[in-house]
Amino acid sequence: MDVTTNIKPGNALDVARIRQDFPLLSRKMNGKPIVFLDSAASSQKPEKVIDAISEYYRAQHANVHRGVYQLSQDATTAFEAVREKVRDFINAPASEEVIFVRGVTEGINLVASSFGRKFLREGDEVLITAMEHHSNIVPWQMICEEKGASLKVAPINEAGELIMEEFERLLSDRTRLVAATHVSNTLGTINPIREMVQMAHAKGIPVLVDGAQAAPHMKVDVQELDADFYTFSGHKVFGPTGIGVLYGRAKWLNAMPPYHGGGEMIKTVTFEKTTYAGLPHKFEAGTPDIAGVIGLGAAIDYVLEIGQDAITQYENQLLAYATERLKEVEGIRFIGTARNKASVASFLVEGIHPYDLGAILDKMGIAVRTGHHCTQPLMDWYGIPGTVRASLAFYNTTEDIDRLVEGVKKAVAMLR
């Protein structure tokens, strides 16, 4: 491929060696070596994460924050060390502002429920964008309905970029919170969060950022972004499922009521009155997912070891390569062509339903996501039933892309 050799990813990463860290990548699907292009849904796990979880259960497990015996103390130390690791990973000011949750969905629900109960009144507004995942729409609809508040949606252009003038115009005296994705899971668009936060803060409005698709691909600095809340999921950053992080500015978290009640989140309990624990425990009722936290710590270590800048650089090159090669497919239409994009190629082929394409690619051992990607309003806006989405991680190669392109061409020939 003469056209494409000059944009093939360089030597930013030793991907052949990296792939050996991921046992799943050497398996087959439908009898063919798997081409895994669905990391935006969930990434694969390196051996170090798998080992950390298993080692934890073999040798370190006891409940945290409870026992005076050494085992429990050690488990607590390991658990809290990960909180500090996460703090550093996103450059949060203090580790008490790092709350362990199940994932982004729970992180957003926590803020919608707690912040909403405290600060939303009838007639108030919450502002989101047109490219949000259902997890950053539905929790706001639920609390808005309960409070008689309304949900406003900042529009996008055809390329899938937020229209900044409209966004700014929609920040009103009644806006109590902005909730926006850092990177769109369907389009790959990277939103200008720093500018959005500046606009919102100029009117005294706090901002929650859904970082699910950003944390796996780039260095996140919550202080530089100046975000009030930032949430990401462990399973998308090569860690285990069921664990995630909500960063919140202490000023807000302290003002918000607890989300769940139970053990761990209390200071004193009588049948008449309970007083709550301070941060972060106020928001961590019940026994946490300790093994998940340990696994997340191992995942962060792994990502840092590879290097976030190298990851971003390699993935950008790979995405450019994928986009260029996919253009060879006759009738292809890219959904999401923002100037600033990360790791997602979403597309349709003229006259072909995404489901059909996905079903045939599956038979060829190629894992892509098809459908609406939990962004139905966005699909409605484009007037399409869904897309085929190839999403990349640093363990993907140009060979993966080549097989995808050949697969799509073959499938199109069968379906036309």
Partner: protein, 148 residues
Amino acid sequence: MLRAETNYKKLSINDIQNEIIEEFSLFGDWMEKYEYIIDLGKSLPLIDEQYKDEEHLIRGCQSQVWLHAEMDNGQVAFTADSDAVITKGIIALLVRVLSHQKPEAVAGADLYFIDRIGLKEHLSPTRSNGLLSMVKQMKLYGLALQAK
């Protein structure tokens, strides 16, 4: 569809299933099988346009299905459609098996052919393409029409 009505009218549900299994055993690999299904999906006009409305829609996450049932000479006649061609091809097979059968036979049908021809993944709940709900709905029609 016309072919199905005339040729298979007198065959039982299981006879037709066995026939399909035999037909599929001739295919060498998955590509031939899928090409056949795609052809089925492309060639058959499966439903009257008037029934492609909200009332007849079975929404899947991945693809959508429209299903209509009516009684014809004591038998249930199904017509259906989908926006995805592979889904539509499988619908053609399901219609061939279940249409123009007695309601009680439809309600009690054991649809083993899908598994035997190696297409069961299309009827898995995780595929969410509307097919599984469609099969349930077809059987419910069988039950409801039996009572009439």
